[in-house]
Amino acid sequence: MERVPVLKIGDILLVSIQIDMEDQVALQLQEDLADKIVVTGCHGVIIDISALDIVDSFVGRTLATIASVSKVLDADTVVVGMRPAVAITLVELGLSLPGIRTALNVELGMKLLAQEREQYELDLEDEDEEPAVSTR
C-alpha cells in the first residue's frame, strides 16, 4: 500500500497528497499524522490538496477527522490548494467542510498558522495576568 509522507518543517507538519488515494491510504494518513503530532509536538498541520482532482465525501470526512484529532492534540490544521472545480463540486455534493480552516496555498497556510499560534499564546498570557478570584 502506498503511503503519504508527512514532513516536519519547523513547528509545522506538511502533507502534500500527490496520489489518488485508496480509502485505506487516507485512514493510514490520519493515523500517521496523529502519531507525528505527538512525537514532534508540532502545533500546526498543513495539508496540500492542490494535486487532487477530486475530493469525495470519504476524503472530505477524513480531512475533517484529521482537523478534529489535531485540535485535541493541540495542533491546528489548514487545508490548502483546493482547486476551484473541486470546491464547486464539494459544495454541490453537500460537504461544506465545517471546522476546517483553508488557505489558497502553502505559504498563506503557514502565515495563518503562525498568526493563530501567536494569538493563542497572547490569550494564555492574558489568562495568567488575571487576578486570582477572591473568595469570601
Partner: protein
C-alpha cells in the same frame, strides 16, 4: 489502453476492493476528458462515480461498474451503470435523504451523487440488489 473511439465503447470494472474504486475514478476521468466535458463537469462526474463505486463496495458487497460513451444525437455524454447483487435498499426515499446513513459515513453518497449528474436512475429490490445509472452530458 482504452481509446474510447468506438460509438458504443464501454468498459466494465469489477468492484471488489478499495483499489477498484480508484480504478473506476480513473476510467471515468479518462472518458470524461475524451468526450470533452468541461473541467467542472469532469470533476462532478468523477466525484459522483467515486461515491457510487464506494456504495457498491460497502453496501452492495461488491459488484461492477460499466462506463460508456453515449450520444443523444445532439451531444455526447458519459454514462456509468453500477450494479450489485447485495441486500438492496428497503426505503429509497430515506436512502436519498441528505445525512441518512447506515454505514457510518456522512450520508451524502447517494443524495450528493444525484445532485452532481444530469440523469440519475435507480433500480433496487430487497434481497436482489441495486442498479444505479448516472449520465452527464456535454453542455
Amino acid at each position: 489502453m482504452t481509446t474510447w473511439d468506438g460509438a458504443a465503447a464501454a468498459e466494465r470494472v469489477a468492484i471488489i476492493s478499495d483499489q477498484d474504486v480508484v480504478r473506476v475514478r480513473q476510467l471515468v476521468r479518462t472518458l470524461a476528458v475524451a468526450v470533452k466535458l468541461s473541467l467542472v463537469d469532469q470533476t462532478k462526474i468523477v466525484t459522483a462515480a467515486s461515491e457510487l463505486a464506494r456504495n457498491t463496495l460497502v453496501y452492495g458487497g461488491g459488484g461492477n461498474a460499466e462506463v460508456s460513451r453515449v450520444d443523444n444525437g445532439r451531444k455526447p455524454g458519459i454514462r456509468i451503470v453500477f450494479a450489485d447483487e447485495g441486500p438492496g435498499i428497503p426505503d429509497l426515499d430515506l436512502a436519498l435523504t441528505d445525512g441518512y446513513t447506515t454505514g457510518g459515513g456522512m450520508g451524502l453518497g447517494l443524495s450528493g451523487a444525484r445532485r452532481l449528474v444530469d440523469e440519475f436512475e435507480i433500480d433496487t429490490e430487497v434481497g436482489k440488489g441495486t442498479t444505479i445509472s448516472v449520465t452527464k452530458w456535454c453542455r
